[in-house]
């Protein structure tokens, strides 16, 4: 049983961390889309 728990703990860690990374990636693309809608102001600022 202990081996199963060890594997589960490592798998769970990676699922949570990669899940958060995936959430950030989705958000990044949504922001890029929003940036395309307001390009002029952001171009003058950045």
């Amino acid at each position: 049983m202990s081996h199963r728990h060890l594997i589960l703990a490592y798998v769970f860690t990676w699922v949570v961390q990669l899940g958060y990374a995936g959430f950030l990636t989705r958000k990044w693309f949504a922001l890029r889309k929003a940036q395309r809608e307001f390009p002029t102001y952001l171009d003058t600022v950045e």
């Binding site: 049983m1 202990s2 081996h3 728990h5 060890l6 589960l8 703990a9 490592y10 769970f12 860690t13 949570v16 961390q17 958060y20 990374a21 950030l24 958000k27 990044w28 922001l31 929003a34 940036q35 307001f38 002029t40 102001y41 952001l42 171009d43 003058t44 600022v45 950045e46």
Partner: protein, 281 residues
Amino acid sequence: MNPHSNGAVRFPAQNGLKTNISFGNILALAWTALTVGLLVQGFRQAMFIAPTEATMGEIYRIFYYHLASAWLTFLFFLISFLASVVYLSARRSNPLRALGADALALASAEMGVVFCTVVLMQGTLWARPVWGIWWTWDERLTTTLLLWLIYSSYLLLRRFAAGPQMQTLAAVLAIFGYADVPIVYFSTRWWRTQHPSPVIGGGPDSGLDPRMWTAVWWNLAAWLAWGILLMTLRYRMERKRQLIEQHAALRALEASLEPVAESGSESGSENGNNGPERGQR
């Protein structure tokens, strides 16, 4: 518009080599490669190289991820705490710095909650085979759960509350919420808990076998690099979102002023000039 600015790489160029690859992108790629390398090495050390523990056997290998995640939870909540202090102190005198601090507070709090979630779940999965129970209302476990709840409520506040006071309220919550971190850390010293003694400064019966430290440091470095990578990405996204929000507010202001501007400069509209030029905003 520059006809060459269509996102393509120009090679060769008249004024030297010009590409869309910036120094920031190269740094991000190098940091990502370093992080992946560290994570692979950390996993290898924890699973295959570190010696097996005498009483618990293989299950103790959760420890290497568990300890790194716990320490990084404290670190990212500390960053959120400090950034919230900067936000509160600078929000009137230096709004630009305050906005940057607010973005950093949010990014680090999110990263802290992710690590805290991982710590709690690893703890329950470790407790079941070792203690025979999934959970106990032990002081260390309870205060850690409380910490998770406090910063989860911080994120919910930021997600669902609106209005100008939201950031101030969130900063206050982050500062007071951080008071739980020392309680979590010292809980195993102040009370007799089921949770093991601390690995550093925990007294004569605590501490680690010297052979275990190599895997501890590798995993700590690996998850620190991972945390910094995601936190930086989140910070940059939040800064971008702040800019877009400001732009939307400016557009709304422009729209409300348009009838006045049009009536005052009809001759300009006839020449195709429909509003202020880019540089005038």
